[in-house]
Amino acid sequence: MKAFSDLLDQLYFTSGNNAKAAIIKEYLRSTPDPDRGWAIAAIAGTLKFDFFKRNTVKTLMLERIDPELFAMSYDYVGEMSETVAHLWPDSQATQTDSIPRLADIVEEFQNASRQTAGKLLSGYLDLLDASQRWALIKLGTRGLRVGVSARSMKQILASYGNVDIEDIESLWHGVAPPYTELLAWLEGKAEKPDISGEVTFHPVMLSHPIDDQTLEQITVNDWQVEYKYDGIRVQLVCTEKGKALFSRTGDDISQAFPDVLEGISGDGVVDGELLIMHGKDVDSFNALQQRLNRKKPPAKLIKSLPAGLILYDILRNGDTDVTQSALTERRQILSQWIAGQQCSHLHLSQTLNLTDAASLRKKHEQASDDVAVEGLMLKRKDSRYVPGRPKGQWYKWKRDPKLVDAVIMYAQRGHGKRSSYYSDFTFGAWQDDKLLPIGKAYSGFTDEELKKLDNWVRRNAVGRFGPVREVKKELVIEVAFDAVHPSPRHKSGIALRFPRFHRIRWDKPAAEADTLETIKALIHSTD
């Protein structure tokens, strides 16, 4: 644990990617398995659950200190984990050889129940010094912020083993902490881990919002046009070893949707939209939300709101990787693959036969007639399946009003009957790797959603500026608005007209929210 907390301390204060990489590589060289693998997991965010709740930490602390002194200390330090790390009574008996190993800590917490986690935590805190306590609390609540993203962690691993970053990317979802095999391979002590038969998530291909200029330029014949359904993007993976349904972030959501997986067999990796479907009829996103809320849905709910997949792509057919084939070919393969399944929950995405710009525009206008449809997808017929967001290949053309995916940055309490809720939100869009505020919204959500938002803000606040709470940059909202105007008064250079919540994207990673550039491109199309 000492090596781990030293590592975090160094990363926390050191600026510059190269320096951070040097520190991590030195740590990997000098730290044994399985500790170092858990450290990688902690930094890259691949630990699957919280070891304990933040509130448990606070409760344990208050059993050990005068509440007045705690309040004064918290006020000065401004952050819970650090306050507790400093305030926890140092046991005189702390000796180097009694410091627990990182791997032991992780294992013990993995086996602990909610009831025993608190006792386990206080026992460990007694054995550690202040830096180590901070590291443990941050690790256990998965609140590490040391300025190393999952992507940079992969780059560092690639450089550590002198291999290609793409190799790490392709392996990443097939290997698990504490990454013993992966590290052995990187150090030349073992073969590359074989994950071909594993049930793992494959990085997905994403689209860009379309702008007017692109719309004018495209030759409709070169593009496959489909409806963009208002569901969630999923990946269905099936191998000899098993099958699973993954969300777009790689979370395994199989247990929540047993009905979809039931009839699936044989090898394949397919890409599509998860929806509530009554036969061929697609239900609203709200209906889907009810299923998403339940990690293990009761049979009754599955029956009343059956899930279905509208599939639009295939990455793997049997044991053949088909990502290098053109979209039109993949579509044929996908169609056969679906035909080979005995599963009524699978549907092939319908392509719209359009030949000219006028019919495309007309289709887009009509798209809003169906509540389950939120626009059109345009994909180049010759596009290969490229993970990430390659330029000029896939576009989404959302129906009006204008919608963007933005990230909540700050929250403030409302007025009147909302004064006890955080109900006024400032949201931002990406510019390079920074978020810039682009507007504020305080309507468009239900009372139920307001409660959830308020709760989220309280749990994810990271700073305070008077009445304003800064929150973790993690929650994406779909903001609806009527127009964008250039505005030199705002740092972002734009102002949104009548922004309001359209939908809360609990499922969407913040990194995939829209860029400022994308939103600026909407300026002309709306004026």
């Binding site: 030293d6 160094q10 926390y12 204060f13 050191t14 600026s15 320096a19 040097a22 520190i23 030195e26 200190i65 005068d66 007045e68 002194l69 004064m72 200390s73 000065y76 330090v77 401004g78 952050e79 650090e82 306050t83 400093h86 305030l87 140092d90 010094d129 202040a130």
Partner: protein
């Protein structure tokens, strides 16, 4: 007679009326009792200064021979009487363990004993005599680190962090921001204790005081002025000490691949360390941490405690819980000296 009837706080500082003397005054006065040589306690231009011999040397080093019209050197435990012969005030210095020459001032008047501890700490420090417990009726304590979050780790542990960083970044110049008086010399000694024998490089502002410490018998090992290094690229991988202010100014630009190190008790608070843009914060303090403050209150065991200089609220709250009479003594003008740049 209770000290509250003969001690006053005014704009100039803490004033002892029957002795007509100020303790660590902010501006030039007729008679000044100086606890130690830090700039916010020891200023130039007083008519008559009472201090320990080492403190007087420090003041002379900093301000020149003309730093005061008249000086009285008082060894530890040696007394002087001030004021009216028939109604005298007795002043005696005791070691405070803060920096070389630092003293607590015991002031006795009409049967009452008041101890002004100045700045002090309880950790072993090879550059000065350890703090001595002096029984008294009223004890004035600083509260620079007066919150229970402050517990300073052992100095050798912090020095190891610096040496480890030097290993990980063998080509980077480690510039350590330290207060010129006391902290700087302590860091040097701790490096020597850790077996570091290579020359240490000094910013110009630190040289005279290091020389003085050596004269006082504190062996600091090989020291080289940065200005004497012709090719600054030769400093790659070396350890340089500099006042904190120099870390951010142009001086450091000529140095190769600087890694910013800060040695200060404040570095314990992450936000504070980040604010100072320390890449490697070392928690090294010349003040008491919270447990040492409480230990001292207990050992001195004065029925009344006046708290100044820092986070008074928490210490007063705690002192009252411990059964002492405690109140804040609002002195203005003292800097959080670990943070000031000299």
């Amino acid at each position: 007679m209770h000290p509250r009837d003969w001690m006053r706080v005014n704009d100039t500082g803490l004033y002892c009326e029957p002795a007509d003397a100020y303790i660590d005054p902010m501006v030039p006065v007729t008679r000044a009792i100086i606890t130690h040589g830090h700039a916010d306690h020891a200023r130039a231009g007083h008519d008559h200064v009472y201090a320990t011999p080492t403190t007087l040397k420090i003041m002379t080093t900093r301000y020149g021979e003309e730093m005061a019209r008249e000086q009285t050197a008082l060894d530890y435990r040696q007394s002087v009487t001030l004021g009216d012969d028939k109604d005298p005030v007795t002043v005696t210095f005791y070691p405070a363990g803060h920096i070389a020459g630092s003293a607590q001032a015991l002031i006795e008047y009409r049967g009452a004993r008041l101890v002004i501890s100045g700045d002090y700490k309880r950790r072993p420090d090879p550059t000065c005599e350890p703090f001595e417990v002096v029984p008294c009726d009223v004890f004035i304590t600083e509260a620079t680190f007066g919150l229970p979050v402050f517990t300073h780790p052992p100095i050798d542990q912090e020095i190891q962090k610096l040496l480890h960083s030097q290993q990980v970044f063998p080509d980077r110049c480690h510039v350590v921001g330290t207060y010129a008086l006391g902290k700087c010399q302590r860091v040097i000694l701790a490096l020597r204790d850790a077996g570091y024998t290579r020359p240490l490089y000094l910013h110009g502002a630190l040289i005279r005081l290091c020389d003085l410490y050596q004269e006082l018998g504190v062996a600091l090992g090989p020291l080289v002025a940065v200005s004497e290094v012709e090719n600054k690229q030769d400093l790659a991988g070396e350890i340089i000490l500099a006042p904190p202010s120099a870390l951010a100014d142009r001086w450091s630009r000529s140095l190769p691949k600087v890694r910013t190190v800060m040695a200060s008790g404040w570095m314990q608070i992450r936000a504070r360390a980040r604010q100072r843009q320390a890449e490697l914060p070392l928690i090294i303090s010349d003040h008491c941490d919270w447990p040492e403050l409480l230990q001292t209150l207990e050992e001195v065991n004065a029925p009344e405690v006046w708290v100044t200089h820092g986070r008074e609220d928490a210490l007063i709250y705690q002192a009252e819980k411990m059964g002492f009479n405690a109140r804040a003594l609002s002195l203005l003008g003292y800097e959080e000296e670990d943070d000031s740049s000299e």
